[in-house]
Amino acid sequence: MRNVGQATRPAAKAVAILATVLAICAWTPAAQPKRLDVNTLLDRYARGDYDAAWKTVGELTKPEARALRSSLVSTGHSWVHAAPEDLSHRILAAAAFALEFEAVRAEKGEWSTFDGDQCAGRCAIEWACTILRARGDADEAERRWHRATFALVGGVRDWSFLLTPLTAPTPRSRVTVTGHVLHALSRLPDDPHARLARAIAIASRHLVTDEMDAPRPGGRTHTAMPAFMPVAAPVLASRVQVQFEYAKQQLAELVGDPVVGPEARMRLGYLHWRSGQYEEAIAAEGVAAETTPDVNLRYIAHFVAAQAAQAAGDLTAAEELYSKALETRPYSQSATIGLAALLFLRGDAGPAYDAIERSRVERPKDDDPWRLFLYGDYPRLPDVIGQLRKSVTR
């Protein structure tokens, strides 16, 4: 027994030393979340040193990012007021920093407001929106900031952050309508992008990916969604119709606007298509395509019209409209697939193979506008952030 005890003593010592070393390692600062100084980052950002700031932010772990976000909204005002002679610029820089911070972290799936975060994307944007008011009357810089927020929110599809509720008001409804876009409109009442953002948020309920049935020449096809329970079907169908009409009305009010009118009409055409009004969809998209100077919008307008014609059973018109889309933006993948499918379906396999092959060669990594249609103004986020930065750096 004694011998055994003597033999185990060195082993016990070794275990104790190992445990101590492990405990020390676990406690060392290296194992703790990195604490970034938000003031340093804000200084860099305000100076226009964007790349360094975003490289750091992009590399943060989720707890580190959460700590930085929390630090920004709780102590960011100290940085803003540290130089009273530069107050307006510092407010704008802090607000732009908050927006870009959330844009970077949203790419990592951290926009969520439901995972126990003390202050996630919505909170930081609202904080920035609030401090911007201290700059006085809204100016072009603030307008750009708001437009960037609409684009970001579109990217994460958090439409109810823009507006709640998104549904049509009923005569008996006493719900107070809230949302970020209303804050923007209170500052910039006539801003066409804010008005369009509001309409898109309402229309977002119908920005869906419901599958259509296979097209049939001469026969109309519809979305193939789960059937409602027979008893509830009339009520639900009627409610859906009301919401569609409400969303269409919001967009219809904007079709005459010289800035956002063509996009509003293009999106109105989309709603016509999704609600089975194919002829109205084709007509609206035709006007949108004619009136917009934006190649991507024109492409989407032709593409949606082609889908509507396909659903209406006019496959010849659908082929022509896909071709128009491809004249506008050659070799784009979405219209190429739509056209090739119709060609293949009617037995013209050779041209279908050729179309797919050319699209593959000419646009191997295409930012196809249709692919990002679900996300509102999000495809323009890099551009609007670029404009916002110009305002920050003056």
């Binding site: 969520s112 037995g347 050779g350 646009r363």
Partner: protein
């Protein structure tokens, strides 16, 4: 060259012409050839249980074209090279398995034989050709990551299937996917129609439950597929003569390679039946049914039809 081999070469050449000609051929020529269907090739695998049934002759098969019995001109089990298109569903919902997928791809490529070719399609905001056609034995430098948002599974399968047939090769498409499409231009119902007209054989391997997508992620997409969409995708594979394969929850990688080995073996050892349709309208859709009446319990997997010519 034997007379039989010569016939095969001529038939294959004609098939190539019907299918659209050489890859550089302009579109109008394809239209000209399309009207005359001379010979139809049907890839058919015959199994009894898990064993492939060898040494069958034309007399063993029964082939119906639109319900009319046909005379089979030739049955061959040629060892022609194959083109393999692998589609990897790299949507966010499969993000948890990307590392394994890269290893799997290398393992799959090792199953190819000399003369075979391989390409890899993945998805992000569009369908990407991650690896263009490469010969067997090529060491692949794979780089792909999960992309959140739209999940263009059906569009990727269409691009995979729409590869111009080469008369000297056969085309096998294998899709590794959880089948949760979001945002494709082509619906599952349309994919089924297109697959049925394709010259390629499509197999799908289940790859579900491997990731998980956050709500409120940039470019997130909520699948709103039709309730029978899953069945339609499986039917798309079946109509080409392919099938849907599940994976073992445990030993996933081994079971995946086993599934590939099974698919390759079956594809390589399948029969090619050739016949000239008679007694049927040459235009439009032709439903094909292949059976082996002499062998009880035989399971025949073959394309379920072809498109003759556009109805006038």
């Amino acid at each position: 060259m034997t007379g039989r081999a010569l016939t095969a070469v001529v038939t294959l050449a004609m098939l190539g012409a019907i299918a659209g000609g050489a890859s550089q051929q302009p579109a109008p020529q394809a239209r000209t050839f399309r009207a005359k269907v001379v010979s139809v090739a049907v890839n058919a695998s015959v199994k009894r249980g898990n064993r492939i049934v060898p040494n069958l002759t034309a007399n063993d098969f029964r082939l119906m074209d639109n319900g009319v019995a046909q005379t089979i001109d030739e049955v061959s089990r040629e060892s022609v090279p194959i083109d393999v298109t692998l589609f990897l569903d790299t949507s966010a919902s499969t993000a948890g398995k990307l590392g394994e997928m890269k290893t799997d791809v290398q393992g799959i490529v090792r199953l190819l034989r000399e003369g075979d070719r391989f390409r890899l399609l993945t998805i992000g905001d569009s369908v990407y050709e991650n690896v263009a056609w490469v010969p067997a034995g090529t060491k692949l430098d794979l780089s792909f990551g999960a992309v959140g948002g739209i999940s263009l599974i059906q569009d990727a399968l269409v691009i995979a299937l729409f590869h111009r047939p080469d008369p000297d090769r056969r085309h096998l498409v294998v899709g590794l996917t959880d089948r949760r499409d979001c945002g494709s231009v082509v619906s599952s119902a349309l994919l089924r129609e297109l697959a049925a007209r394709s010259e390629a054989v499509l197999h799908l391997i289940d790859h579900s439950g491997s990731g998980g997508e956050d709500n409120y992620r940039v470019r997130s997409c909520t699948p709103r597929g039709r309730p029978d969409g899953d069945r339609l995708l499986i039917e798309a594979a079946e109509r080409t003569g392919g099938a849907f394969h599940t994976q073992s929850f445990f030993f996933r990688s081994a079971s995946l390679l086993r599934a590939f080995r099974t698919i390759f073996d079956e594809f390589r050892q399948s029969y090619t039946l050739r016949y000239s349709p008679s007694g049927v309208d040459p235009t439009g859709w032709h439903a094909i049914a292949v059976s082996v009446p002499a062998i009880k319990d035989a399971t025949v997997r073959a394309r379920q039809g072809y498109y003759g010519d556009a109805p006038k």
